[in-house]
């Protein structure tokens, strides 16, 4: 907005124009965000009648709480697993679709549409396929002598939510990698080929480095996805279990706040999540030098 372009002059109109969004932001974003920060330094007394200022105590307790630390570890491994799967498969299929001259459009269409499937729906679907008694996949696992039960076995629980989360997110990564590949000038590849570089070399020496801004963008988006948007999958498939094997941070906030009604602890967790989002947003805008120059 640095330029001084043609400007209409009107004293009231611009306020009327920004009002709807600003009002909603104020009421449903800033005020609750402020409340979350405020509540995180208070604790309700035993009768729930008075709020007592406790400073950092909620945070100290939080980071001393084994169940919270477990939730952090689970979230970490969950996002790493999802990340590895969706980046590698997304890139793999994008390179292939970019190579395939014939049918490229067909493949692209068939690979991007899971993006339109809601995480919660993806969860139901995989839950059905792996259902210990009636699931198609669990049936064949059973035939192979493998007893699948994601309701009892923590590893199975972790695998099924990772699968449901990744299946849907590959499409997103594929789309961005494909767009990235198609932006690379063919002359670059041609001249490398003339110099005798084989496809594998060309990929690692030319394509992959040129895709690095896209890869970096996707790393951030995938972290956001597995931290926050997979709530529906967890809620549908495992409810954080078995044990606490899939109790990711955002699910724990929900459970502590709404099921266990522990306001102080839940708010402290919200503040930690807020810090994570702020960090990620900062990294994203800083490294991309987005157009938000002020």
């Amino acid at each position: 907005m640095a330029d001084n372009r043609a400007i209409f002059s009107n004293k009231f109109l611009p306020y009327v124009l920004v009002f709807p969004q600003i009002a909603i932001v104020g009421v449903f974003f800033l005020w609750p965000g402020f409340q979350a920060v405020l509540l995180s330094v208070f604790r309700e007394d035993a009768f729930g009648t008075r709020r007592v200022f406790v400073g950092m105590e909620n945070f100290v307790r939080l980071f001393a709480n084994e169940s919270y630390l477990n939730s952090m570890r689970v979230t970490f491994f969950f996002s790493i697993s999802v990340m590895v799967i969706v980046i590698s498969l997304g890139l793999f299929f994008a390179v292939l679709a970019d190579r395939a001259i014939r049918g490229s459009n067909f493949y692209t269409t068939m690979i991007i549409w899971p993006y339109a499937v809601a995480p919660a729906v993806s969860g139901v679907m995989w839950m059905f396929l792996f259902n210990p008694t009636i699931g198609v996949i669990s049936h064949f696992l059973d035939l192979a002598g493998f007893n699948w039960n994601h309701a009892l076995n923590p590893t199975h629980g972790f695998i099924i939510v990772t699968l449901a989360a990744s299946w849907k997110q590959i499409a997103y990564n594929f789309l961005f990698f494909l767009a990235g590949l198609q932006n690379i000038p063919p002359s670059l590849i041609e001249s490398a080929a003339i110099d005798g570089a084989k496809p594998r070399t060309r990929f690692w020496r030319i394509l992959f480095p040129l895709l690095s801004p896209t890869t970096f963008f996707l790393v951030i988006m995938n972290v956001m996805y597995s931290f926050f948007l997979t709530f529906g999958i967890i809620h549908q498939v495992t409810q954080g279990g078995p044990g606490q094997a899939t109790n990711i941070l955002v699910y724990k906030v929900y459970r502590d706040g709404f099921v266990n009604l522990n306001l102080g602890a839940s708010s402290a967790q919200s503040v930690v999540l807020m810090a994570i989002v702020i960090g990620l947003t900062f990294i994203q805008f800083h490294f991309f030098e987005r157009k938000v120059h002020y």
Binding site: N10, Q21, I24, R99, Y107, I112, W113, V117, I184, G232
Partner: protein, 283 residues
């Protein structure tokens, strides 16, 4: 990219792997579809059939008209709620973002930067990090179990505001200038010039925002307690919560297919716009 030289083996491998990929993405949905077309008894007899059955009409009409008894709302009703929510969220986001971007680009006014940053900050406050206090606000306003409660708290959009702002800034200066010379009011310029030329940006955003609205899960889970406001995704969760009773899988699977159709339809019918809209987020 045109292939630079021929590697028949590599080309063959490319197609084989892509077909496997297509299979991986289509297989789960195919199985769900088959399950939605057979009687429950056939699903229970593991392994279930892999060819669609003859109960398609029956299962889908049961799902749409009555649904699962314990849930209390038909999938048809919940499908409509989901559509209302997705349209409300996407439409709302587009309208308020476009107004705000119009103000930011074509006017200079006190507190402009403050407002801009207030909208920017929403990026850092997704509903997941402020659930309890937002729930309290909505409850105090008496908006639990209402469409307003489902839609309003998630419609501010920094992304949409930035995209419109970006687009408006790329418009040649002559356009607003000549509109001014012709004596057009700002709102006249907005409606008769800006809106028509922004159609592509609209459409691309609409696809993404519709899916965003459709996929909402945590928020509807919190604000709806009356079944007539359940979205379909919440309804499916309730259908599965049967305790010791037998889940009606054929109805659940029919509802699952119904929950996929609108967003898939939107993405497929506006494919190129969707791809354009998506990749613009990166810029």
């Amino acid at each position: 990219m045109a292939m630079v030289e021929r590697y028949p083996v590599l080309t063959f491998f490319t197609h084989v792997m892509l077909i496997i990929g297509v299979f991986i993405f289509a297989f789960p949905i195919y199985i769900v579809f088959v399950a939605s077309s057979v009687p429950l008894a056939e699903i229970m007899r593991a392994p279930m059939p892999i060819i669609p059955g003859t109960q398609i009409l029956q299962n889908y009409s049961t799902a749409i008209m009555t649904g699962v008894a314990d849930v209390g709302a038909s999938s048809g009703r919940m499908l409509m709620n989901s559509i209302i929510m997705a349209l409300g969220v996407s439409g709302g986001k587009i309208v308020i973002s476009m107004f705000a971007a119009f103000a930011f680009v074509f006017f200079r006014f006190p507190f402009r930067q403050v407002f801009f940053w207030a909208i920017f900050i929403t990026l850092m406050l997704p509903v997941q990090v402020r659930i309890l206090p937002t729930y309290e606000v909505v409850a105090n306003l008496g908006m639990l179990d209402s469409y307003a409660g489902l839609i309003l708290p998630i419609i501010p959009s920094a992304t949409a505001t930035f995209l419109f702002r970006q687009y408006f800034m790329s418009i040649p200066k002559e356009l607003p200038d000549s509109a001014k010379v012709d004596g057009a009011t700002p709102m006249r310029f907005f409606w008769s010039i800006l809106v028509p030329i922004s159609k592509t940006t609209f459409a691309a955003l609409f696809v993404i925002l519709f899916i965003f609205g459709w996929n909402q899960y945590l928020w509807p889970l919190l604000v709806t307690t009356k079944e007539q406001y359940y979205t379909l995704l919440i309804g499916i969760n309730r259908m599965l919560a049967v305790g010791d009773q037998q889940a009606e899988w054929q109805i659940i699977m029919a509802s699952t297919i119904l929950a996929m159709l609108p967003p898939i339809f939107v993405v497929m019918s506006m494919r190129s716009l969707f791809i354009q809209g998506m990749t613009e987020q990166e810029k």
